[in-house]
Symmetry: C3
Subunit: 162 residues, 3 copies
Protein backbone atom coordinates (compact mmCIF):
# COMPACT_ATOMS: atom_id res chain seq x y z
CA UNK A 1 0.00 0.00 0.00
CA UNK A 2 1.19 3.49 -0.79
CA UNK A 3 1.89 5.75 2.18
CA UNK A 4 2.96 9.35 2.51
CA UNK A 5 4.84 11.43 5.07
CA UNK A 6 5.13 15.20 5.51
CA UNK A 7 7.82 17.11 7.35
CA UNK A 8 9.19 20.59 7.75
CA UNK A 9 12.95 20.98 7.74
CA UNK A 10 14.18 24.01 9.63
CA UNK A 11 17.34 25.22 7.91
CA UNK A 12 19.40 28.10 9.27
CA UNK A 13 21.96 29.99 7.21
CA UNK A 14 24.90 32.21 8.13
CA UNK A 15 24.59 34.48 5.09
CA UNK A 16 25.21 34.08 1.36
CA UNK A 17 26.49 30.66 0.30
CA UNK A 18 25.64 26.99 -0.15
CA UNK A 19 24.35 24.77 2.66
CA UNK A 20 24.19 21.07 1.85
CA UNK A 21 21.29 19.15 3.45
CA UNK A 22 21.41 15.89 1.49
CA UNK A 23 21.93 14.05 4.78
CA UNK A 24 18.78 15.52 6.35
CA UNK A 25 16.67 14.49 3.34
CA UNK A 26 18.29 11.03 3.22
CA UNK A 27 17.41 10.63 6.92
CA UNK A 28 13.73 11.41 6.18
CA UNK A 29 13.78 8.75 3.45
CA UNK A 30 15.39 6.21 5.78
CA UNK A 31 12.92 6.98 8.61
CA UNK A 32 9.98 6.64 6.21
CA UNK A 33 11.14 3.14 5.21
CA UNK A 34 9.87 3.94 1.70
CA UNK A 35 11.60 1.64 -0.78
CA UNK A 36 10.27 3.13 -4.02
CA UNK A 37 8.65 6.54 -4.24
CA UNK A 38 9.09 10.28 -4.59
CA UNK A 39 10.38 13.11 -2.38
CA UNK A 40 9.29 16.70 -3.08
CA UNK A 41 11.06 19.61 -1.38
CA UNK A 42 9.69 23.15 -1.32
CA UNK A 43 11.55 26.17 0.09
CA UNK A 44 9.12 28.66 1.64
CA UNK A 45 11.07 31.80 0.66
CA UNK A 46 11.93 33.59 -2.60
CA UNK A 47 15.31 35.09 -1.73
CA UNK A 48 17.09 31.71 -1.50
CA UNK A 49 17.04 28.65 -3.78
CA UNK A 50 17.06 24.87 -3.71
CA UNK A 51 19.72 23.43 -5.98
CA UNK A 52 21.08 20.04 -6.90
CA UNK A 53 24.76 20.46 -7.68
CA UNK A 54 28.12 18.74 -7.53
CA UNK A 55 29.14 18.00 -3.95
CA UNK A 56 32.75 16.99 -4.74
CA UNK A 57 34.98 20.03 -5.46
CA UNK A 58 33.79 23.06 -3.39
CA UNK A 59 35.39 25.32 -6.06
CA UNK A 60 32.39 24.48 -8.29
CA UNK A 61 30.08 26.19 -5.81
CA UNK A 62 32.44 29.15 -5.38
CA UNK A 63 32.43 29.55 -9.18
CA UNK A 64 28.63 29.38 -9.23
CA UNK A 65 28.58 32.16 -6.66
CA UNK A 66 31.12 34.18 -8.69
CA UNK A 67 29.03 33.80 -11.86
CA UNK A 68 25.74 34.79 -10.21
CA UNK A 69 27.39 37.73 -8.41
CA UNK A 70 28.58 39.04 -11.76
CA UNK A 71 25.31 38.33 -13.59
CA UNK A 72 23.08 39.88 -10.90
CA UNK A 73 25.25 42.43 -9.08
CA UNK A 74 24.18 43.69 -5.66
CA UNK A 75 23.15 47.33 -5.80
CA UNK A 76 22.46 47.29 -9.57
CA UNK A 77 20.96 50.69 -10.46
CA UNK A 78 18.34 48.88 -12.56
CA UNK A 79 16.42 47.85 -9.45
CA UNK A 80 13.67 49.96 -7.83
CA UNK A 81 12.89 47.54 -4.97
CA UNK A 82 15.75 48.64 -2.69
CA UNK A 83 13.94 49.08 0.63
CA UNK A 84 15.11 45.69 1.98
CA UNK A 85 18.78 46.23 1.13
CA UNK A 86 20.90 46.15 -2.01
CA UNK A 87 21.17 42.34 -1.88
CA UNK A 88 17.39 41.71 -1.68
CA UNK A 89 16.30 42.24 -5.28
CA UNK A 90 19.36 40.35 -6.62
CA UNK A 91 18.30 37.52 -4.26
CA UNK A 92 14.83 37.43 -5.86
CA UNK A 93 16.36 37.40 -9.37
CA UNK A 94 18.79 34.59 -8.44
CA UNK A 95 15.82 32.61 -7.10
CA UNK A 96 13.85 33.16 -10.34
CA UNK A 97 16.92 31.96 -12.32
CA UNK A 98 17.11 28.77 -10.23
CA UNK A 99 14.18 27.18 -8.36
CA UNK A 100 12.48 26.68 -4.99
CA UNK A 101 11.18 23.15 -5.52
CA UNK A 102 12.72 19.78 -6.34
CA UNK A 103 11.27 16.34 -7.01
CA UNK A 104 13.58 13.36 -6.50
CA UNK A 105 12.63 9.68 -6.94
CA UNK A 106 13.37 7.15 -4.19
CA UNK A 107 14.81 3.87 -5.46
CA UNK A 108 15.93 0.82 -3.40
CA UNK A 109 15.20 2.84 -0.25
CA UNK A 110 17.54 5.69 -1.21
CA UNK A 111 17.36 9.07 -2.95
CA UNK A 112 17.99 8.41 -6.66
CA UNK A 113 20.77 11.03 -6.78
CA UNK A 114 23.87 10.67 -8.92
CA UNK A 115 27.18 9.80 -7.26
CA UNK A 116 28.30 13.45 -7.13
CA UNK A 117 24.97 15.16 -6.60
CA UNK A 118 24.11 16.97 -3.39
CA UNK A 119 20.99 18.88 -2.34
CA UNK A 120 21.80 22.47 -1.39
CA UNK A 121 20.05 25.47 0.01
CA UNK A 122 21.60 28.46 -1.73
CA UNK A 123 21.26 31.48 0.54
CA UNK A 124 21.27 34.67 -1.54
CA UNK A 125 20.97 37.20 1.32
CA UNK A 126 24.07 38.42 3.17
CA UNK A 127 22.52 38.12 6.62
CA UNK A 128 21.71 34.84 8.39
CA UNK A 129 18.16 33.58 7.80
CA UNK A 130 15.82 30.86 8.96
CA UNK A 131 14.70 28.94 5.84
CA UNK A 132 11.92 26.34 6.33
CA UNK A 133 11.65 23.62 3.67
CA UNK A 134 8.43 21.59 3.34
CA UNK A 135 9.12 17.94 2.48
CA UNK A 136 6.59 15.44 1.11
CA UNK A 137 7.36 11.73 0.68
CA UNK A 138 5.11 9.20 -1.03
CA UNK A 139 5.75 5.54 -1.88
CA UNK A 140 5.73 1.97 -0.66
CA UNK A 141 7.26 0.66 2.55
CA UNK A 142 9.99 -1.94 2.35
CA UNK A 143 8.19 -4.21 4.74
CA UNK A 144 4.98 -4.34 2.79
CA UNK A 145 6.51 -6.38 0.02
CA UNK A 146 7.08 -9.05 2.65
CA UNK A 147 3.41 -9.45 3.56
CA UNK A 148 1.18 -8.83 6.61
CA UNK A 149 3.80 -9.74 9.22
CA UNK A 150 6.15 -6.98 8.05
CA UNK A 151 3.21 -4.60 7.90
CA UNK A 152 2.37 -5.23 11.55
CA UNK A 153 6.00 -4.76 12.51
CA UNK A 154 6.01 -1.38 10.80
CA UNK A 155 2.96 -0.29 12.77
CA UNK A 156 4.50 -1.44 16.05
CA UNK A 157 7.67 0.51 15.49
CA UNK A 158 5.67 3.70 15.41
CA UNK A 159 5.91 4.65 11.75
CA UNK A 160 4.71 8.18 11.18
CA UNK A 161 2.89 7.35 7.91
CA UNK A 162 -0.56 8.83 7.42
CA UNK B 1 -6.69 5.98 1.37
CA UNK B 2 -4.72 8.07 -1.09
CA UNK B 3 -6.73 9.77 -3.81
CA UNK B 4 -5.83 11.92 -6.79
CA UNK B 5 -7.50 14.65 -8.82
CA UNK B 6 -6.61 16.13 -12.20
CA UNK B 7 -7.68 19.49 -13.59
CA UNK B 8 -6.85 21.88 -16.36
CA UNK B 9 -6.68 25.56 -15.46
CA UNK B 10 -7.44 27.86 -18.36
CA UNK B 11 -5.36 31.03 -17.82
CA UNK B 12 -5.66 34.02 -20.15
CA UNK B 13 -3.04 36.76 -20.33
CA UNK B 14 -3.14 40.34 -21.62
CA UNK B 15 0.49 40.39 -22.77
CA UNK B 16 3.87 40.39 -21.02
CA UNK B 17 3.72 40.42 -17.23
CA UNK B 18 2.88 38.43 -14.11
CA UNK B 19 -0.51 36.88 -13.44
CA UNK B 20 -1.01 35.47 -9.95
CA UNK B 21 -3.21 32.35 -9.72
CA UNK B 22 -2.45 31.21 -6.16
CA UNK B 23 -6.18 31.54 -5.39
CA UNK B 24 -7.18 29.21 -8.22
CA UNK B 25 -4.71 26.54 -7.06
CA UNK B 26 -5.77 26.98 -3.42
CA UNK B 27 -9.38 26.47 -4.53
CA UNK B 28 -8.45 23.16 -6.21
CA UNK B 29 -6.79 22.05 -2.96
CA UNK B 30 -9.84 23.08 -0.90
CA UNK B 31 -12.25 21.33 -3.31
CA UNK B 32 -10.14 18.16 -3.21
CA UNK B 33 -10.37 18.09 0.61
CA UNK B 34 -6.82 16.69 0.59
CA UNK B 35 -5.24 17.29 3.99
CA UNK B 36 -1.71 16.11 3.25
CA UNK B 37 -0.37 15.61 -0.24
CA UNK B 38 1.23 17.13 -3.31
CA UNK B 39 0.13 19.48 -6.11
CA UNK B 40 1.99 19.47 -9.44
CA UNK B 41 1.41 22.24 -11.99
CA UNK B 42 2.54 22.05 -15.60
CA UNK B 43 2.25 24.89 -18.11
CA UNK B 44 1.62 23.55 -21.62
CA UNK B 45 3.63 26.24 -23.46
CA UNK B 46 7.31 27.22 -23.73
CA UNK B 47 7.04 30.99 -24.22
CA UNK B 48 5.68 31.65 -20.70
CA UNK B 49 6.79 30.38 -17.27
CA UNK B 50 5.45 29.23 -13.92
CA UNK B 51 7.12 31.03 -11.05
CA UNK B 52 6.84 31.16 -7.28
CA UNK B 53 7.75 34.68 -6.20
CA UNK B 54 7.06 37.33 -3.61
CA UNK B 55 3.45 38.49 -3.74
CA UNK B 56 3.89 41.49 -1.39
CA UNK B 57 5.64 44.45 -3.12
CA UNK B 58 4.68 44.52 -6.87
CA UNK B 59 7.96 46.41 -7.49
CA UNK B 60 9.75 43.05 -7.05
CA UNK B 61 7.97 41.70 -10.11
CA UNK B 62 8.60 44.87 -12.09
CA UNK B 63 12.32 44.54 -11.26
CA UNK B 64 12.27 40.89 -12.34
CA UNK B 65 10.79 42.00 -15.65
CA UNK B 66 13.41 44.78 -15.96
CA UNK B 67 16.23 42.32 -15.32
CA UNK B 68 14.99 39.71 -17.80
CA UNK B 69 14.32 42.40 -20.45
CA UNK B 70 17.94 43.53 -20.15
CA UNK B 71 19.37 39.98 -20.02
CA UNK B 72 17.36 38.68 -22.99
CA UNK B 73 16.52 41.74 -25.12
CA UNK B 74 13.72 41.51 -27.68
CA UNK B 75 15.07 41.66 -31.21
CA UNK B 76 18.60 40.55 -30.21
CA UNK B 77 20.59 40.08 -33.44
CA UNK B 78 21.92 36.79 -32.02
CA UNK B 79 18.64 35.02 -32.74
CA UNK B 80 17.80 33.28 -36.04
CA UNK B 81 14.29 32.14 -35.05
CA UNK B 82 12.54 35.44 -35.80
CA UNK B 83 9.54 34.28 -37.85
CA UNK B 84 7.16 34.51 -34.88
CA UNK B 85 8.17 38.04 -33.88
CA UNK B 86 11.11 39.64 -32.10
CA UNK B 87 9.70 38.71 -28.66
CA UNK B 88 9.26 34.98 -29.42
CA UNK B 89 12.82 33.68 -29.11
CA UNK B 90 13.45 35.83 -25.98
CA UNK B 91 10.27 34.23 -24.58
CA UNK B 92 11.71 30.74 -25.14
CA UNK B 93 15.01 31.75 -23.49
CA UNK B 94 13.21 33.28 -20.48
CA UNK B 95 11.25 30.04 -20.14
CA UNK B 96 14.46 27.96 -20.24
CA UNK B 97 15.94 30.25 -17.54
CA UNK B 98 12.90 29.70 -15.31
CA UNK B 99 10.58 26.67 -15.47
CA UNK B 100 7.23 25.31 -16.65
CA UNK B 101 6.51 22.95 -13.77
CA UNK B 102 6.14 23.26 -10.01
CA UNK B 103 5.58 20.75 -7.21
CA UNK B 104 4.12 22.07 -3.96
CA UNK B 105 3.28 19.99 -0.88
CA UNK B 106 -0.16 20.24 0.75
CA UNK B 107 -0.06 20.44 4.55
CA UNK B 108 -3.02 20.82 6.96
CA UNK B 109 -5.31 21.13 3.94
CA UNK B 110 -3.41 24.10 2.48
CA UNK B 111 -0.64 24.76 -0.02
CA UNK B 112 2.64 24.69 1.94
CA UNK B 113 3.67 28.10 0.58
CA UNK B 114 5.58 30.67 2.60
CA UNK B 115 3.76 33.71 3.95
CA UNK B 116 4.89 35.92 1.03
CA UNK B 117 4.94 33.36 -1.75
CA UNK B 118 2.53 33.51 -4.66
CA UNK B 119 2.16 31.27 -7.73
CA UNK B 120 2.48 33.25 -10.95
CA UNK B 121 2.17 32.70 -14.65
CA UNK B 122 4.83 34.89 -16.25
CA UNK B 123 3.73 35.76 -19.76
CA UNK B 124 6.77 36.50 -21.93
CA UNK B 125 4.94 37.35 -25.19
CA UNK B 126 3.64 40.86 -25.82
CA UNK B 127 0.29 39.74 -27.18
CA UNK B 128 -2.51 38.17 -25.08
CA UNK B 129 -2.40 34.38 -24.96
CA UNK B 130 -4.44 31.44 -23.68
CA UNK B 131 -2.18 29.42 -21.34
CA UNK B 132 -3.55 26.07 -20.12
CA UNK B 133 -1.98 24.64 -16.95
CA UNK B 134 -2.38 20.94 -16.11
CA UNK B 135 -2.82 20.36 -12.36
CA UNK B 136 -2.39 17.04 -10.54
CA UNK B 137 -3.24 16.57 -6.84
CA UNK B 138 -2.51 13.47 -4.79
CA UNK B 139 -2.96 12.86 -1.07
CA UNK B 140 -5.35 11.89 1.70
CA UNK B 141 -8.78 13.35 2.33
CA UNK B 142 -9.47 15.14 5.57
CA UNK B 143 -12.55 13.10 6.21
CA UNK B 144 -10.82 9.77 6.01
CA UNK B 145 -8.93 10.31 9.22
CA UNK B 146 -12.36 10.46 10.89
CA UNK B 147 -13.45 7.01 9.70
CA UNK B 148 -16.15 5.54 7.42
CA UNK B 149 -18.84 8.14 8.22
CA UNK B 150 -16.74 11.01 6.90
CA UNK B 151 -15.81 8.91 3.88
CA UNK B 152 -19.48 8.36 3.00
CA UNK B 153 -20.13 12.07 3.43
CA UNK B 154 -17.38 12.83 0.97
CA UNK B 155 -18.92 10.50 -1.61
CA UNK B 156 -22.35 12.05 -1.13
CA UNK B 157 -21.08 15.55 -1.70
CA UNK B 158 -19.94 14.53 -5.17
CA UNK B 159 -16.17 14.58 -4.70
CA UNK B 160 -14.39 14.42 -8.04
CA UNK B 161 -11.69 12.02 -6.82
CA UNK B 162 -10.75 9.16 -9.12
CA UNK C 1 -5.99 1.64 -6.55
CA UNK C 2 -2.93 3.83 -7.00
CA UNK C 3 0.17 2.14 -8.33
CA UNK C 4 3.70 3.30 -9.02
CA UNK C 5 6.53 2.31 -11.34
CA UNK C 6 10.22 3.20 -11.29
CA UNK C 7 12.66 3.05 -14.18
CA UNK C 8 16.10 4.23 -15.16
CA UNK C 9 16.49 5.63 -18.67
CA UNK C 10 19.99 5.29 -20.05
CA UNK C 11 20.59 8.27 -22.33
CA UNK C 12 23.80 8.65 -24.34
CA UNK C 13 24.92 11.94 -25.86
CA UNK C 14 27.35 12.78 -28.66
CA UNK C 15 28.48 16.09 -27.15
CA UNK C 16 26.88 19.49 -26.58
CA UNK C 17 23.31 19.82 -27.86
CA UNK C 18 19.69 18.79 -27.36
CA UNK C 19 18.52 15.19 -27.30
CA UNK C 20 14.76 14.70 -27.33
CA UNK C 21 13.44 11.70 -25.37
CA UNK C 22 9.72 12.48 -25.24
CA UNK C 23 9.06 9.17 -27.01
CA UNK C 24 10.93 7.16 -24.38
CA UNK C 25 8.95 8.81 -21.55
CA UNK C 26 5.67 8.39 -23.44
CA UNK C 27 6.50 4.68 -23.85
CA UNK C 28 6.96 4.33 -20.06
CA UNK C 29 3.54 5.95 -19.55
CA UNK C 30 1.93 3.64 -22.13
CA UNK C 31 3.58 0.54 -20.60
CA UNK C 32 2.43 1.57 -17.13
CA UNK C 33 -1.20 1.78 -18.35
CA UNK C 34 -1.61 4.71 -15.91
CA UNK C 35 -4.58 6.78 -17.03
CA UNK C 36 -4.26 9.68 -14.56
CA UNK C 37 -1.14 10.37 -12.56
CA UNK C 38 2.28 11.96 -12.41
CA UNK C 39 5.70 11.32 -13.98
CA UNK C 40 8.84 12.67 -12.30
CA UNK C 41 12.17 12.67 -14.14
CA UNK C 42 15.52 13.25 -12.45
CA UNK C 43 18.84 13.54 -14.27
CA UNK C 44 21.68 12.10 -12.19
CA UNK C 45 24.35 14.62 -13.31
CA UNK C 46 24.97 18.35 -12.89
CA UNK C 47 26.71 19.20 -16.17
CA UNK C 48 23.62 18.55 -18.32
CA UNK C 49 19.97 19.61 -17.91
CA UNK C 50 16.42 18.39 -18.41
CA UNK C 51 14.34 20.88 -20.37
CA UNK C 52 10.84 21.10 -21.77
CA UNK C 53 11.03 23.17 -24.93
CA UNK C 54 9.48 23.65 -28.34
CA UNK C 55 9.97 20.59 -30.54
CA UNK C 56 8.80 22.21 -33.79
CA UNK C 57 11.44 24.56 -35.28
CA UNK C 58 14.96 23.24 -34.46
CA UNK C 59 16.24 26.84 -34.85
CA UNK C 60 14.68 27.55 -31.42
CA UNK C 61 17.09 25.08 -29.84
CA UNK C 62 20.05 26.40 -31.84
CA UNK C 63 19.18 29.91 -30.57
CA UNK C 64 18.96 28.62 -27.00
CA UNK C 65 22.44 27.17 -27.43
CA UNK C 66 23.70 30.46 -28.94
CA UNK C 67 22.27 32.44 -26.01
CA UNK C 68 23.71 30.16 -23.32
CA UNK C 69 27.12 30.03 -25.09
CA UNK C 70 27.25 33.82 -24.99
CA UNK C 71 25.93 34.10 -21.41
CA UNK C 72 28.26 31.43 -19.97
CA UNK C 73 31.30 31.33 -22.28
CA UNK C 74 33.61 28.33 -22.21
CA UNK C 75 36.98 29.23 -20.78
CA UNK C 76 35.70 32.32 -18.93
CA UNK C 77 38.58 33.67 -16.83
CA UNK C 78 36.15 34.08 -13.92
CA UNK C 79 36.19 30.35 -13.20
CA UNK C 80 38.69 28.64 -10.89
CA UNK C 81 37.35 25.09 -11.34
CA UNK C 82 39.18 24.37 -14.62
CA UNK C 83 40.69 20.94 -13.93
CA UNK C 84 37.95 19.11 -15.86
CA UNK C 85 38.21 21.27 -18.98
CA UNK C 86 37.10 24.76 -20.00
CA UNK C 87 33.55 23.55 -20.75
CA UNK C 88 33.00 21.90 -17.33
CA UNK C 89 32.30 24.89 -15.09
CA UNK C 90 30.09 26.53 -17.78
CA UNK C 91 28.18 23.21 -17.87
CA UNK C 92 27.54 23.42 -14.11
CA UNK C 93 26.36 27.05 -14.44
CA UNK C 94 24.04 26.19 -17.35
CA UNK C 95 22.59 23.37 -15.23
CA UNK C 96 22.01 25.75 -12.30
CA UNK C 97 20.26 28.17 -14.69
CA UNK C 98 17.95 25.41 -15.92
CA UNK C 99 17.04 22.26 -13.94
CA UNK C 100 17.67 18.54 -13.47
CA UNK C 101 14.14 17.47 -12.51
CA UNK C 102 10.72 17.68 -14.11
CA UNK C 103 7.21 16.73 -12.95
CA UNK C 104 4.60 16.14 -15.66
CA UNK C 105 0.98 15.07 -15.06
CA UNK C 106 -0.49 12.11 -16.94
CA UNK C 107 -3.99 12.72 -18.27
CA UNK C 108 -6.17 10.32 -20.36
CA UNK C 109 -3.25 7.90 -20.43
CA UNK C 110 -0.84 10.43 -21.99
CA UNK C 111 1.76 12.95 -20.85
CA UNK C 112 -0.08 16.27 -20.34
CA UNK C 113 2.38 18.12 -22.60
CA UNK C 114 1.37 20.97 -24.88
CA UNK C 115 1.12 20.34 -28.62
CA UNK C 116 4.62 21.75 -29.28
CA UNK C 117 6.38 20.65 -26.10
CA UNK C 118 9.14 18.07 -26.11
CA UNK C 119 11.26 16.66 -23.27
CA UNK C 120 14.97 17.19 -23.91
CA UNK C 121 18.25 16.29 -22.34
CA UNK C 122 20.51 19.29 -22.89
CA UNK C 123 24.11 18.08 -22.93
CA UNK C 124 26.43 20.91 -21.88
CA UNK C 125 29.76 19.05 -22.20
CA UNK C 126 31.55 18.83 -25.55
CA UNK C 127 32.41 15.16 -25.23
CA UNK C 128 29.88 12.29 -25.43
CA UNK C 129 28.47 11.23 -22.06
CA UNK C 130 26.25 8.56 -20.54
CA UNK C 131 23.39 10.37 -18.73
CA UNK C 132 21.09 8.18 -16.59
CA UNK C 133 17.63 9.61 -15.82
CA UNK C 134 15.57 8.19 -12.93
CA UNK C 135 11.85 8.06 -13.75
CA UNK C 136 9.01 7.65 -11.24
CA UNK C 137 5.38 7.14 -12.27
CA UNK C 138 2.39 7.13 -9.92
CA UNK C 139 -1.31 6.96 -10.69
CA UNK C 140 -4.27 4.76 -11.51
CA UNK C 141 -4.41 2.01 -14.14
CA UNK C 142 -6.90 2.32 -16.95
CA UNK C 143 -8.14 -1.18 -16.41
CA UNK C 144 -9.02 -0.65 -12.77
CA UNK C 145 -11.89 1.67 -13.58
CA UNK C 146 -13.42 -1.31 -15.40
CA UNK C 147 -13.45 -3.59 -12.37
CA UNK C 148 -11.80 -6.86 -11.30
CA UNK C 149 -11.77 -8.43 -14.75
CA UNK C 150 -9.55 -5.69 -16.17
CA UNK C 151 -7.37 -5.90 -13.09
CA UNK C 152 -6.75 -9.62 -13.64
CA UNK C 153 -5.95 -8.95 -17.28
CA UNK C 154 -3.35 -6.41 -16.22
CA UNK C 155 -1.68 -8.95 -13.94
CA UNK C 156 -1.64 -11.58 -16.68
CA UNK C 157 0.12 -9.27 -19.12
CA UNK C 158 3.05 -8.98 -16.73
CA UNK C 159 2.68 -5.37 -15.58
CA UNK C 160 5.72 -4.21 -13.66
CA UNK C 161 3.72 -2.25 -11.08
CA UNK C 162 4.79 -2.48 -7.44
Amino acid sequence: MLRQHAHELELRTRGRGFYEFTGEVAALVAQSRIQTGLVTLHLQHTSASLLIQENADPEVRRDLERFFSRLVPDGDALFQHTCEGEDDMPAHVRTALTTVNLGIPISSGRLALGAWQGIFLWEHRRQPHRRPVAAHLIGKYTGQTRGPRAFLASLESGAAGF
